[in-house]
């Protein structure tokens, strides 16, 4: 069966490529969507938090062991480094919020947005000053031999990205929907003033949101690094695309972030393969999707439209 003049096995490979790319967007989008859900503002620095978390994990991992050797020690070292990266990211997320966003919480919308862009630029350039601009290899702790079926193949790391994305989405959803803290988060998101009156410490809830979002970014970053290496600009474009994914799914909606990410990954891959958009213009796809979604269904695919009130 040849669809669009492309042999079936090649098509399957493209599907796998698109899915893994999409899963990467989803992983990052989860963090964006959390912060946006609560504060209604784009945390431009999310991609940089991801990058710095990944670097901290990378440095600890290679300090503890030589990953190319393998063995159970490597896996323990990896787990420790992952945890470390999550903690560093969480601290970083909270600090950034306190310094650059909190003073502007009551300011008009343009202000925190510009401040966030500023933070993102500062962090990215600091990282390239401190760590250099060259990519660094991040070895997968387990056996990463590709699994072939027919002519197509997938690596264990790619499967890991898909699985972790799914686990993160489900647990995050359970947390927000079922737990007390999750309830407090939702209340804060609805109306900060009323939430405060109800005895919710709004500042702590916002910090918690940033901490969780940033810790998730570190996990995403490390998974991505094992696929595409560690470098100072790793969070930039991926972060932007992830934001678009979050908007496509319905920003503030956790399932939406996952769906939006996968959809965007598939659209980018098949836009190039089937529609024949030149490879160099593949980023155009994501931004066009953003504009179309915002015009047609601004609240995203998974949220009901709501008119903006005065």
């Amino acid at each position: 069966m040849d669809l669009f003049n492309i042999p079936a096995n090649e098509l399957i490979q493209h599907l796998i490529n698109g899915l893994t790319l999409g899963a990467i967007y989803s992983l990052i989008a989860l963090g964006y969507t959390m912060v946006y859900g609560i504060l209604k503002f784009i945390n431009f620095a999310h991609g940089e938090i991801l990058m710095l978390g990944t670097y901290s994990g990378y440095f600890l991992y290679y300090m503890l062991c030589d990953p190319t050797k393998g063995g159970s020690y490597v896996i323990i070292a990896f787990a420790v480094s992952l945890l470390f990266a999550m903690i560093i990211s969480a601290i970083l997320g909270i600090t950034i919020e306190r310094i650059a966003y909190k003073p502007l919480r009551k300011a008009p919308r343009l202000a925190p947005l510009l401040s966030a862009i500023g933070v993102s630029i500062i962090l990215m350039n600091l990282a390239s000053l401190m760590f250099g601009t060259k990519s660094k290899k991040f070895d997968y702790p387990f056996d990463n031999t590709p699994i072939h079926f027919g002519d197509a193949s997938i690596t264990p790391n790619q499967i890991m990205i898909l699985v972790v994305g799914l686990i993160m989405m489900v647990s995050l959803k359970l947390f927000v929907d079922r737990s007390r803290l999750g309830k407090a988060m939702r209340a804060t998101s609805e109306n900060q003033a009323v939430a405060a009156l109800m005895g919710i410490n709004v500042n702590s809830i916002i910090s918690l949101t940033f901490a969780i979002g940033s810790a998730l970014a570190a996990v995403a970053g490390i998974l991505i690094a094992m696929e595409f290496k560690v470098y100072p600009t790793m969070g930039q474009l991926a972060g932007l695309k992830a934001f678009i994914a979050a908007v496509v799914g319905g920003i503030g909606n956790i399932t939406g972030a996952m769906v939006g990410g996968i959809l965007l990954g598939l659209l980018e891959t098949f836009g190039v393969v089937i529609i024949g958009i030149p490879q160099g213009l593949k980023d155009t796809i994501a931004f066009s999707v953003l504009i179309i979604i915002l015009l047609v269904k601004p609240s995203g695919l998974l949220i009901k439209n709501r008119r903006e009130k005065v």
Partner: protein, 306 residues
Amino acid sequence: MLDFILLIVIYIIIYSISSLGLNLIVGYTGMLSLCQAAFMGIGAYSTAVLMTAGHMDFWLALLSSGAIAALCGILIGIPTLRLRGDYLAIATLGFGEIVKNVILNWDSVTKGPMGINGIPGPSLFGYTFTSMEKLPWLFLLLFFLAATYMLIRVMIRSRVGRALEAIREDEIAASAMGINIAKYKVGVFTTGAFCGGLAGSFFAAYSQSVAPLTFDFMMSIMILCMVVLGGLGNSFATVIGTVLIVIASELPRLLGISHIIPAQMNQILFGFILVFMMIYRPQGIIGRIKLNYGKMMKDEILHMER
């Protein structure tokens, strides 16, 4: 030495034309646009292509470049101006990336990654401007800066300015007063893009070369910093902001230490300007000129829609 100072002044003027345009969009109307560099890129490449491959006269190419950039401003403006503030920022950022990638990939016209070299200098009454003779350039550019400045001044002091003010302060109320918001927003975007296109055209003709990666996101941020540093919604402040930023960028070279000051320092500086100004002095170093009506409150300066 003087030549190099003149060079800095020339860059200041070129960037001022562009930042004045951006100030119209961000400062006066309150829309965050992150693609001013893309409009400059469109202008620069239009001039480069029209003058080298099309053998067009500079003055015609200059106008065409402005017009093409303005047209792109309309194209991006119409669909995106219905977007809320932060979405608009992302959409314009995306537009900037797309312009860069189109320039990079459209080899038959833009020569792709190589850029275009050997752009001839403009000629006027038989005199040909070259980058070696800086004073004639200076006066030529100064004339265009004055024209841009006056154009925006006239615009802001008219009905249009008051309409923009109303839109920035409260879109819904403005709409209720019978202001056609879409028309004004697209109009502002187009004018801003036109200014960017002109600046880009001069950039290309003065440097006699264009390269695809020049007009990237960081350049948009630099222009945004010029506007924010000076003070949003104040043309004079924008020019001052531009002077400060260009001097800060070229100072290491002037002092002969460009090779030890990391390139990243400049961008870190821009980042700090954005954060610091937003938190401590959102009205910019100069602040906003009081217009003849309305009382300004510090918080309202950046008010968009809340």
